[in-house]
Symmetry: C6
Subunit: 96 residues, 6 copies
């Protein structure tokens, strides 16, 4: 699972994510966290991120609306960082 954190993402970067998800650019966020991996991992990461405080979570889609290729976590820098840390810690998701 690859995880990246973008500080003060630029217009093009926000547009690329917005065009492929339900994310609407209203004001530029402080940070965007990105998570890419197997579908099962990204659904698990989504659950953990949405239980974090102050961030919004979006599934970024590939070639069709039902596809799911990337998880985007939008918020202030500190809150996105906490969400990414929680994803690494595993939260309520257990490998069986």
């Amino acid at each position: 699972m690859d995880i990246k954190l973008i500080k003060a993402p630029g217009e093009n970067t926000l547009r690329i994510i917005s065009e492929r998800s339900r994310y609407k650019i209203e004001e530029n966020p402080g940070a965007i966290g990105l998570v890419q991996g197997k579908l099962i991992e990204m659904i698990g990461a989504c659950d953990i991120a949405e239980k974090s405080v102050g961030v919004e979570v979006f599934d970024v889609r590939g070639s069709c609306p039902q596809n799911f290729v990337l998880l985007a976590i939008v918020g202030d820098m500190e809150e996105v960082k906490v969400a990414l840390e929680n994803i690494k810690a595993g939260g309520d998701v257990k490998k069986w």
Copy 2:
């Protein structure tokens, strides 16, 4: 074959699964089990899970309705756990 168990899945996580399967969110389930692997493995896991007690089984689809990328098993925590254990034990499915 990857198997994960999510306790008390959040709204976004349920929506992601619901948008890509016949699963309708009526009340938040206690747990969701996820199984990802080869198509032949997921069909075998589906057969075992649906013979377990108290869970519902959904095929999560990818880019088109006919695709099948993930198996979701919805129910109470204990019942989902039993279904996942049964999948590991192999049930009525034999490797030939």
Copy 3:
């Protein structure tokens, strides 16, 4: 090439195969054999299976009708077993 045998497949399992092939569920079959591999292997396995006695053979499709992702062999337990054994023995299909 992966081969699996499912005894008395459940309703969901039959529906998943039925939704992705010409297979119509009339009465629950005794067994389903599944074969997954390269396209060239599955076409070879299809030829062998359809020359076996008492089974029906279906190509299970992926994201589009022209795709072919899995071979399903439907029939009584003993007949499906014989078809799977024949596939392993190679029948009229030769590797060149």
Copy 4:
């Protein structure tokens, strides 16, 4: 590159190839040769096969008409065998 030779292919096998190519089943052929590999290899194999005597060559398509996933060579047993031997020998196609 995988190559297989099917003797007196059955109805289902012919239908699977026919549904995914321009091949029309008129009378059952003596043999079908199948070639699966990289696109560049299959186009090269196509060129060699169509310069062989007495066989017809078809590109079998995947999820869309423009896809090309398998080469089918239809004819009498001996002629298909010669075409497959020619493919192995390399014909007018050179690796650069």
Copy 5:
């Protein structure tokens, strides 16, 4: 992540990129930089490139508009070079 720099790209090369992105050919650019890698890497590279001076950044799409298979960076030779150097240096994007 693969990175290439094309000096004074030809008409066909510009057309291939133009047909698959929002890029409109007005006058032939001095150079095009190309970046191919995982989606998460290309979004990170996009953010860095668009914070560079004097270049324009385009997401090149694959089989559907929502797909994203390559990043193109268009501008004068020296400015494209600086953008590619910045991508290698990592900019505001951190691996977590």
Copy 6:
């Protein structure tokens, strides 16, 4: 990156390329060069080939018009050979 050279390509081979690109068969060419590799490599090879003398360059598409799965270089035998040599030499394309 795979490179092949086909001498005096046959009708089926030309049709397969024509159906998947802007290439129109007017008279049979002396040779076709084929290049298959990563998208970034094929765009680089396209730029080099179109700067060669006497050949035409076509992007062969896969499942959708925006896809790009193979580069075809059409012309006389000697000119196609020179283009393929130029591709190997790297031309105006630099790995960064």
